[in-house]
């Protein structure tokens, strides 16, 4: 057991960083994720197929391609990257924030899919009933739609978190593999496999990675079940 928990400072940092990156990626994708899911589930507009395709792009592209595209747009010299750095002081390239962005983008299609499905399952006639009782569309969303899609929301968030925990290709392409800054668990494991005698460290981090992912999954199951019982749909 000591062997497993006796991590070096760098390894601990990788674990902490991974959890931080995954959490930030998940939290920041939630609002746009809900919005896009809502638009895709209920919107009727020209270009919906295009938007749907765009959202799913990170799922089908090689992660390296996504990472490179991020580098082109959000890098120091990229149009979005330069703009954000200049006006808001937000820098992505070679920072942990960039890792979070890459992880968020990679998990986005999974999150949107889960939320979209749960929105499509909501009986719109119940929302109409809330409208006749005096609730405006925003309040209907907050008091009826949102609680009803909570299980889907949780599922989407956990999928995004799990994806972020495992994201490697896009992250390493976009923000490289800098210890204490952008070296997440997968990057750290990869680094171990590249040096002689690194097997022990790689195995340690692999086990930790498994434990964290399993814990997230179990937590989501428990949470979803509790919410499901509360909603009690016939």
């Amino acid at each position: 057991m000591n062997w497993l928990l006796d991590l070096t400072a760098d390894e601990w940092n990788a674990v902490r960083l991974s959890i931080k990156v995954a959490t930030v990626a998940m939290l920041f994708s939630l609002p746009p994720g809900i919005l896009i899911a809502l638009v895709l589930a209920r919107g009727k507009f020209w270009g919906k197929t295009l938007l749907n395709g765009l959202v799913h792009l990170p799922l089908i592209l090689p992660p390296v391609v996504t990472g490179y595209l991020l580098l082109l747009t959000f890098g120091r010299r990229g149009p979005a990257g330069a703009f954000l750095a200049e006006h808001f002081g937000i820098v992505f390239s070679f920072r942990w924030t960039g890792a979070a962005l890459a992880c968020g983008i990679m998990g986005f299609p999974l999150m949107v899919r889960a939320i979209r499905l749960s929105i499509e399952a909501v009986d719109r006639r119940i929302e109409a009933a809330a409208g006749t009782l005096g609730a405006n569309p925003l309040l209907v969303f907050a008091t009826i739609t949102l609680p009803l899609i909570l299980p889907g929301l949780i599922a989407g968030a956990i999928l995004s978190f799990a994806k972020a925990m495992g994201e490697f290709g896009a992250t390493i392409t976009f923000v490289s593999n800098i210890p204490n800054e952008t070296q997440t668990l997968p990057s750290a494991i990869y680094t171990f496999t590249q040096v002689p005698g690194g097997d022990e460290g790689a195995l340690r981090l692999t086990l930790i990675s498994i434990v964290i992912s399993m814990a997230a999954l179990v937590a989501s199951e428990v949470l979803a079940r509790r919410v499901g019982r509360r909603i009690d749909i016939e």
């Binding site: 006639r125 119940i126 109409a128 409208g131 006749t132 009782l133 005096g134 309040l139 016939e234």
Partner: protein, 370 residues
């Protein structure tokens, strides 16, 4: 209170072109399925935006396409009870009931939580979840939820259609109480003659998206031509009467009506209480002389004022009994054999046991008073 609707709307192949005004207490929109009743009520509630037309309630214009007015549903203050209750599955019954209250301006809240809960008998259900309620209970909660938003008008879209007869019988008295104990105007959609005859003060008959007739319930129910062929036998006279006395020995109640005394199976109502009865045309026999040696107890003298051909072998005969018109459905053969013609004095014969819960209910006090 007045409802003015003048609307035209197209939905695919189906078009609705309806115009009616009602100042009634409970106005029934009556017609077969596909006649546009639900579309019309959805238009009033604001769930559908009409292509063209105008809707006003008590002078307040909700829709006027000519001047671009469309009040969204959440600002209309119109309560709606749907056929499929549509309770919020993630809330308890109590939270469902209180939902509309949040959005009602304090000054306009007139509905009292406890009073509504008592009126509908839903006190024991408050902590439950909608999924744990029976169909009838759900519908009562849905009615309470709509009432507690303190609406200015209540719309009910076939609230009993998805329930079995026992559940219907459970809810009907609550709707009668609602009609009689609150001043709230109600528009009630139904395809059931029994419900309309029992509940409505006024009826708007819809057929293929158009208003076929409109008027007081008693007048409309006599026009058997307005009823769907398979239900024509259900139509007939609607009389507003009052309990004169109870005959406990034989288990009967005696009702006083313009046409004379009418004996019905014992009612659980106090003497003097208003009772509305529907005398189905097919339950009425005609005698040319005062019958003797006959088991039927209700024999009402009158004069034939109308004879109209029915479908098949039937003819429909209207008998004026001291101001109340009773409708009889007999065969053409009998009519010829008895030589029935306009102006002839006859007796309308109705069996006491032909009255049951489906055609006997609490009367509208306003009408009985007046």
């Amino acid at each position: 209170m007045s409802v003015v609707v003048d609307i035209s709307h197209r939905l695919g192949d189906f078009g609705i072109d309806a115009r009616f005004e009602s100042a009634g207490h409970l106005t029934a929109l009556f017609g077969p399925s596909g006649s546009g009743k639900t579309t019309l009520i959805n238009l009033i509630a604001g769930l559908i935006r009409p292509d063209k037309g105008r809707i006003a309630i008590d002078g307040r214009v909700l829709v006027d396409t000519a001047s671009g007015i469309f009040v969204p549903k959440h600002r209309r203050r119109i309560g709606m009870v749907f056929q499929d209750a549509r309770l919020f599955p993630h809330m308890s019954v109590a939270s469902n009931l209180r939902y509309g209250r949040w959005f009602t301006p304090t000054a306009e809240r007139y509905a009292d939580f406890n009073a509504v809960v008592d009126l509908l008998g839903i006190g024991p259900l408050l902590e439950r979840r909608p999924a744990k309620l029976s169909g009838g209970e759900k519908q009562r909660v849905a009615i309470g939820r709509a009432l507690l938003a303190s609406p200015k008008l209540l719309l009910m879209d076939e609230p009993l259609a998805s329930l079995d007869d026992a559940r219907k019988a459970e809810i009907l008295p609550y709707i009668e109480r609602l009609r009689d104990e609150t001043k709230l105007p109600i528009v009630y959609v139904s395809h059931s003659i029994a419900e309309v005859a029992r509940l409505a003060s006024d009826v708007v008959v819809l057929a293929q998206g158009k208003v076929a007739a409109a008027g007081p319930t008693a007048a409309i129910m006599q026009r058997l031509d307005l009823l769907p062929a398979e239900e024509r036998g259900e139509g007939g006279a609607v009389l507003d009467t009052a309990v004169l006395r109870h005959d406990k020995t034989f288990g009967m109640s005696v009702l006083g009506s313009a046409a004379g005394e009418i004996r019905v199976p014992l009612l659980a109502m106090t003497v003097g209480a208003p009772v509305r009865i529907r005398i189905r045309a097919r339950d009425v026999m005609i005698a040319t002389e005062q019958p003797t040696g006959l088991s039927a107890l209700n024999i009402l003298p009158g004069t034939i004022v109308a004879i109209a051909p029915g479908e098949g072998p039937a003819v429909e005969v209207g008998i004026d009994c001291n101001g109340a018109t009773i409708l009889a459905r007999i065969t053409e053969q009998s009519r010829q054999a008895l030589k029935l013609r306009l102006g002839r004095k006859v007796f309308a014969v109705i069996k006491t046991v032909s009255f049951d819960r489906a055609n006997t209910g609490a009367g509208l006090p306003s009408e009985a008073d007046g």
